[in-house]
């Protein structure tokens, strides 16, 4: 795989980000060469600024032909999740309309938390080609290698009380499953609460961080990591039997930008439905995709306590209901759940 060149963008967008976005839209709209002079007039900037912008885009992986007589012609765009690529032809109302892209960062969740404090808007998405310190739950790391995955975080400012947000992790899980199906035709399954598995291998992890008081939600950061184009050699030894990717499952390279667009579309659709009509449809979908219901499971809770029983159902708040061997029903809110063989 050729490593694409990339340039970082900013929040709020720099004047160069804004100009790049406008110039690209213009080149795409025309579908034909546009002269530097015409671009300069339309954008209200100097010819020199247009030239700098074109060079900036080229260094970011865009192939733009330029001739003195005809002007600039867009030949190809990279599959790099620049905010203007994500927003281009994106059929959402709010999610992904604003964004930031960085080649590498410690963790996109940390990045979005910082931006949230600087009044970044609902729906902003941050994407990195590489996370140096990608996080899982309880201090675990998430392996996020260069360029082969989709590492992103979404800033949400939901107008819901904190008690209703426990459905968001499951919402994100089924949205990713739907996006994968749209994009690849593959049917993934949900491992409660929100791991996404293809051929029994984990291809997506989701971690949400909430900032809220008793009855007010300040913001919710929804972090999603999807293994897109990894081959087995990309995974560290200890993950080689349990990690998968869309490429491994589908047998072909997958594009990241259209996948992210699908993820945004599917999340927004379910979010708007949850706000407007309540959780019934979402819960039905979660139950349909949760493979462990009806099966014997063991729940590894914090501090090593283990609960063995049968997974019964998903509760109205998203919790997993487990019946233990004495017939007691437990409401599980956190922990590692695995399906066990009946004799284990």
């Amino acid at each position: 795989m050729t490593v694409e060149k990339s340039v970082s963008t900013h929040w709020p967008p720099s004047s160069m980000d804004t100009l790049c976005s406008a110039v690209l839209n213009r080149l795409r709209q025309q579908g034909d060469a546009v002269s530097g002079e015409a671009l300069s007039l339309e954008m209200g900037v100097s010819r020199n600024s247009i030239w700098k912008c074109i060079e900036h885009l080229r260094s970011g992986g865009y192939h733009i032909a330029g001739t003195r007589r005809q002007g600039y012609l867009l030949l190809s765009a990279p599959d790099t999740p620049y905010p203007w690529e994500i927003a281009y032809n994106l059929p959402t109302q709010e999610l992904g309309r604003h964004g930031i892209y960085v080649a590498e960062t410690s963790s996109t969740n940390d990045l979005v938390r910082q931006l949230a404090r600087r009044q970044a808007p609902h729906g902003l998405v941050a994407v990195a080609d590489k996370q140096l310190n990608g996080r899982g739950r309880r201090g675990r790391t998430w392996d996020s290698a260069d360029n082969v995955g989709l590492w992103c975080s979404l800033l949400l400012r939901p107008k819901l009380p904190p008690t209703q947000l426990t459905l968001f992790p499951l919402l994100a899980g089924v949205a990713v499953i739907a996006a994968i199906t749209e994009q690849t035709g593959l049917q993934a399954v949900l491992k409660w609460p929100n791991d996404v598995l293809l051929d029994m291998r984990k291809v997506c992890g989701i971690l949400l961080e909430l900032s809220a008081e008793a009855d007010t939600v300040h913001h919710l950061v929804l972090g999603i990591g999807i293994n897109v184009n990894q081959e087995l050699r990309h995974f560290p030894d200890e993950l080689r039997s349990s990690a998968g990717s869309l490429r491994l499952a589908s047998g072909q390279m997958q594009l990241r930008v259209p996948l992210l667009q699908q993820v945004l579309v599917q999340i927004e659709r379910r979010y708007l439905q949850l706000v407007a009509a309540g959780p019934t449809a979402l819960l039905r979908e979660v139950r349909e995709h949760t493979s462990m219901i009806g099966k014997p499971v063991s729940v590894l809770a914090a501090e090593g306590a283990v609960l063995a029983g049968t997974a019964l159902d998903i509760a109205a708040d998203g919790a997993l209901l487990v019946r233990d061997d004495n017939g007691h029903i437990h409401t599980v809110y956190a922990g590692d759940v695995s399906v066990r063989s009946p004799d284990a």
Partner: protein, 159 residues
Amino acid sequence: MVILNIREIKELIKALGNTDIAEFLYEAEGTKVTIRKNAAFTANLAAAAPVAPVVVPSAPSEVSTPNEPEVEAKVDQEDNTITIVAPMVGTFYRAPSPDAAPYVSVGDLVDVGQPLCIIEAMKLMNEIECEVKGRILRILAENAQPVEYGQPLFVIERL
């Protein structure tokens, strides 16, 4: 407004004993009644609870959306303390990861916006921030144990 008589107050105390409500304040026509559970007693109860972290045994009725009890931090004018309660059900963690030091300990000075703990439900990590400048008087929940909606977590003395 009705002024409570002694019998009614006794009944109230009895009724509150069976709930997670840590403190009850009633005010009418210049009369003020405050019923507060002994925090040390509450903490001992939590410590003595059976070891089943993050797994809340419950009757099916508890699965439905809870009623909307008062969950705002309660301020007692007399002793100038504030009680931070859980804004949602989940697992209470005193540190960001198992190997990390706790966010706060008893006696620590804390400031507005400082993280006190995390409550996790379904990989939703809720970092609870301090609402006042003060000192941690009591920590009422055990690390890695389930907490209920509205359950008192910290008592903080305002400074």
